[in-house]
Amino acid sequence: MSIHVQGVSKSFGEVVAVRDATLEVATGDLLALLGPSGSGKTTLLRIIAGLETPDRGRILFHGEDATDRALKDRRVGFVFQHYALFRHMNVFENVAFGLRVRPAEVRPRERDLRTRVRELLRLVQIEPLAERYPSQLSGGQRQRVALARALAVEPRVLLLDEPFGALDARVRKELRRWLRRLHDEMHITSVFVTHDQEEALEVGDHIVVMNQGRIEQIGTPEEVYNSPANPFVFSFLGSANLLRGRVHRGRARLGSIDLEAPEHAGTEDCEVVAYVRPHDLEIERALVLRPAPGAGDRPERAVRRAAIEAVVRDVRVFAPIVRLELDPVEGDGPMVAEMSEERFRILGLQKGEPVLVTPRNVKVFVAS
């Protein structure tokens, strides 16, 4: 079932949590609402669920206005950030709850109910834990119970609030791959909230990037990562190096380098900020040491157009990749570059050595 969010706004007192949000989730899609804390993503999710009433705007489920529909008629599965399991019921009863509270005429018989709950527990791989109470489970197990409980009522939409937020790093990675596979099997329209860009990129079919209550960009992971709409999206989706400069008729001048900026072909002399990812900084050894000041400017000219001169300040090895901290000789603050360990070994760089840095895939934005 598709979800349409149309012009939804919500304030809490003076604080505007969501500003005029419009988005669409296609049937069977898995959508990530990504943003820093306080960006309004959880509020938007709660509005879709019906737990909050929007001040303005509408929520459509499958084209029908569901803004004022009662919670129990929405058939929305919701997984809370802290799971909100019923603490006085064991795992089995937690999962069975949604079936047990159905009106008598549509309530499944006890035997069917038991079969259905067992199936769900098997699906989320916690069948042996059926008799345990929530307090006796680990975070990852509680998460699976919460998911099974939400799925028990055969929801048409599944909403998850920071589903992996409270788990440690290893369990988190495991569980999100598992959730992705589960979604591929069930094809239930899902929206999940996260502040972790890696999670959004890995799990989501589409990503909605939010900041300060506003939607900054909607797109596939590939689109938002490679064609970020603005500096916020760029820097939120991964580490970034910032370069400042000016752009004039399709050419950008950033510190000591010049480069093409065809998307700004019509721009007349204007201040810009440019971003480049650490792995898009190509590092070479500076074969010729920078001449002492006043010793003629010819060699300097030669490198000027394409590369930034810098000195290696620090080297960090993270298994397959190596991260270098660089101090540019002139211009902006420190930069971070990443390369493969293999490349690092070929270069044989040491701390304090001069290098030439060539940025690729630079994204240039007109400064606001």
Binding site: L51, L71, R74, V76, L85, F86, F97, R102, Y133
Partner: protein
């Protein structure tokens, strides 16, 4: 990623020699506590029962079988039987409203709930005399219609209601606030209606706090002296509750009978303490089993008023 720092728990005092007090200080502190407990709590308790049985079990039973004593016991039970359910309903409604909703006047309602704790019970009694007494605001109207409130059972029940009103609400509000409303939201989204959510999720979660509040409320309802004394009129066999009956017997130098009735009230107090400990032990067990010792879900003691709950006489 970054390693999670191990949770350094503060050592339990007295376990580690580094943080323990010197033996002398420890003995002094323990000794002071025991002395105080013995002198002011245990000795009086023993005294009540010794005095009650001073003239033998026969006199003790006779004092309880005496018609006025029986009438006072009946009235006390009646008062509690009417007051406690009403306080329970009020407490559930007030705690739900305060813990779950933001509304104008919420702070005022919280303050009003505390009012009976803050006001002396005697004044509570006076309020009702002022309202319903012969010279009171509604007095003439009540007289014209032949209704008796002051110096009658309705007055006693009203005064007791006033004094006990906060007990259940005060117990439930912190419990409900601490638990939050997420489980209820989950139940609603799973298709349970408001009533089913309340019965199957909200009530089971607050049951221990609720029971605790009811027990304290009951103890106070049976033991209340000041407010009831003002509105009762002390009519023997008609408007005397147990605490009032104890006072009358005592004033008549009938010590054995006074202490016999007092011993019943004391038993009630002991029973209350026992159930209270049981509940605290039960909730702590639950918390320990949960493995989340930082979550303190043991019901917090109420404000003032609890210690003298059943101590009449």
């Amino acid at each position: 990623m970054s390693a999670v720092p191990p949770h350094a728990r503060p050592p339990i005092p007295g376990r580690s020699p580094a943080t323990a007090e010197s033996p002398l200080v420890r003995r002094l502190l323990i000794g002071t506590t025991l002395l105080f407990l013995g002198l002011f709590l245990f000795v009086p308790l023993v005294a009540v029962f010794t005095q009650a049985f001073a003239k033998g079990a026969g006199v003790y039973l006779a004092a309880l079988h005496e018609p006025d004593a029986l009438a006072s016991i009946r009235l006390t039970l009646l008062t509690a039987a009417i007051t406690v359910p009403l306080t329970l309903v009020f407490g559930l409604a007030a705690a739900w409203a305060i813990a779950r909703f933001e509304f104008p006047g919420r702070a005022l309602l919280l303050a009003l709930i505390d009012l009976p704790f803050a006001v002396s019970p005697v004044i509570a009694g006076m309020i009702f005399v002022l309202l319903f007494g012969a010279q009171g605001i509604l007095g003439p109207w009540l007289q014209a219609h032949g209704l008796h409130i002051i110096f009658a059972v309705p007055g006693i029940i009203l005064a007791t209601l006033f004094v006990t009103a906060p007990f259940v609400a005060r117990e439930l509000i912190p419990v409900m606030q601490e638990q939050g409303s997420e489980e209820e939201e989950a139940a609603l989204l799973l298709g349970a209606g408001g009533l089913k959510t309340y019965l199957r999720v909200t009530l089971p979660n607050i049951k221990w706090g609720l029971l605790y509040g009811v027990i304290l409320c009951n103890a106070r309802a049976m033991g209340e002296f000041g407010a009831v004394s003002v509105v009762s009129g002390h009519i023997r066999g008609l408007t005397n509750t147990m605490p009032l009956h104890v006072e009358i017997l005592y004033n008549e130098y009938n010590f054995a009978a006074a202490f016999a009735v007092a011993s019943l009230l004391t038993l009630l107090a002991l029973l209350t303490l026992a159930v209270r400990s049981l509940i605290e032990w039960r909730t702590r067990e639950g918390v320990v089993a949960a493995g989340v010792p930082e979550e303190d879900s043991a019901p917090a003691g109420p404000g003032g008023g609890a210690p003298q709950a059943a101590g009449a006489g």
